[in-house]
Symmetry: C2
Subunit: 321 residues, 2 copies
């Protein structure tokens, strides 16, 4: 495994804090987020229904497996980030809907493949059988492949303006690809039970979760008509909150009950996985996540309408599951 730019990536995020800072009021952050979900959930649901393979001439079982996984009731965080980023730079929601759907498809494909026996070998996802359990392994592999490919089709055939479509397609491919999500998944698999360092953690998480989150935010900005300077801010914001998201995931694995988490807690620890709490202690990990989000939010405060993005970022550290 190479870590060529782990150091440079890490230099772009705030250094590890020495003191515990004031945390945002968690229940308030969750309330704000719930209001935002209320505003975004309808357009996102409609977008998913509209763009998820309408009238596709494909084997019924393949489409069923894809729909089974896409409509399994996720939090839709990535589509929310697309819409919020577009709104932040003054874009119209209508122009961002296809991109929002495409990013949820990419996220879903990654879950289907991640759950496979050769990968994380999970039987349950959001309380239901995983795709390969509900169907079969071959269908799950092909459903993932098909959804990844279809997400690209959705973008290239729906985003207005070939220039923007090409740039959004590139963001998605890079965020989901070998220097992004897929590279992070590979590094994560290799990292289990190995020597632990903060540099390696940032490398893995920056890619496994952060890259696609960042790509969703940048893509929302692109369809919203962001300037070069605004794209730069959004990208940095994405790196920071993406990292915070994973730090909090690690924290919740330690602190949550199974009921809150919707899956067995302590799984990372049991697998001897590299985690932030294991590396820096629980309290310092919490502070680190909050610092990342605070820095990120300051960065975008001068955009036209940063409120939705800020709400999502604060929720990233306030969430309990």
């Amino acid at each position: 495994m190479t870590f060529r730019d782990a150091a440079s990536f890490h230099s772009r995020v705030p250094s590890f804090p020495k003191r515990i800072s004031m945390h945002t009021n968690h229940s308030e952050a969750e309330q704000q987020f719930d209001l935002l979900v209320g505003r975004f959930s309808k357009p996102i649901d409609q977008a998913l229904k509209r763009f998820a393979w309408p009238k596709a001439d494909a084997p019924a079982r393949l489409l069923e497996a894809m729909s089974y996984s896409l409509f399994a009731g996720g939090k839709r965080l990535r589509p929310m980030l697309v819409l919020a980023a577009s709104e932040a730079v003054g874009g119209k929601a209508a122009h961002a809907l296809s991109v929002a759907a495409a990013f949820e498809m990419i996220h879903t494909y990654s879950l289907i493949h991640d759950d496979l026996p050769a990968m994380d070998n999970d039987d349950l996802r959001r309380g239901r059988p995983t795709c390969h359990k509900a169907f079969d392994e071959a269908t799950a592999i092909l459903a993932g492949d098909g959804m990844l490919t279809y997400a690209m089709e959705v973008i290239l055939s729906n985003v207005r303006g070939a220039n923007v479509a090409t740039r959004v397609g590139l963001e998605l491919a890079r965020g989901a690809g070998i220097e992004g999500m897929v590279g992070g998944q590979q590094a994560d698999l290799e990292g289990e039970g190995q020597a632990q360092s903060l540099e390696k953690l940032v490398y893995i998480h920056g890619r496994k979760t952060g890259a696609l989150i960042t790509a969703a935010i940048v893509s929302g900005g692109l369809v919203g008509g962001a300037s070069t300077g605004e794209i730069r801010k959004l990208r940095q914001f994405g790196c920071e909150i993406g990292l915070a998201f994973q730090v909090v995931d690690d924290i919740l694995d330690v602190t949550s009950t199974a009921e809150q988490l919707g899956k067995s807690p302590g799984k990372d620890q049991a697998a001897n996985k590299l985690t932030y709490p294991a590396l820096m202690g629980l309290e310092k990990a919490k502070t680190y996540a909050q610092e990342l989000v605070n820095t990120a939010c300051k960065r975008i405060k001068d955009l036209a309408r940063p409120e939705a993005l800020t709400t999502i970022a604060q929720y990233f550290v306030a969430r309990t599951h």
Copy 2:
């Protein structure tokens, strides 16, 4: 499984021939093809080396697995089709190289996933251990995912002109996707040991192999600057020779020795797979393939430089492995 357009697809290919027609001289067709390989192999090799993840910041093992499979010495038929189609409409080879590389990546990803234990469960590919045997299953799944995603990145960041890049990206996504290759693979898996019909065979093969071949040809035309009418001809040509390719694959599984084929013959029969020879008899299947290619070649004879495409098409029926 739905077959909504199987009938319409079938109506576009020549009807099943009643008499045995004259075959092209096979050894001459193979000689012509060898000359073409001599002309195209160097630019294709250079393109693959140039576009296959240069300086990618990704886990070394992932890149090794991807390179292991991409540089396993395939026939490079899809890159040849891209270059030949571009040449046919008067395009420059230099503008088609990234597209040629991307289509070989897509083909390679499909082989990696096809070979997985849950799919065809093959241990050998071109005489070497398959990707999941040489590495491991998780790495093979991610290598396939990564290569599919990277192929899109290659196109979107290298094809000249955002309009053309978008159209080529769409061709690739549709050819490789649920209405193309992935849909065909699913239908093929479901079709094993089931009721046999010509309509179903055409449905499966038109997608499993034909769709990506057609997309490669159309994409070559697009980067070569083809007109709408030329694209239409190229697409029809691709449908016909793609189908012929699969018919011949089925024939070779029956008639070849293991040495000629580079893998065990008779495998389709053993798996009770739907094949053309099983359905229409060996001689009629041979004639059908030749008729398809002859019709296809007539269709493109008025293009600026159709010779290379014609040579590949004639090789499709003349090949012995």
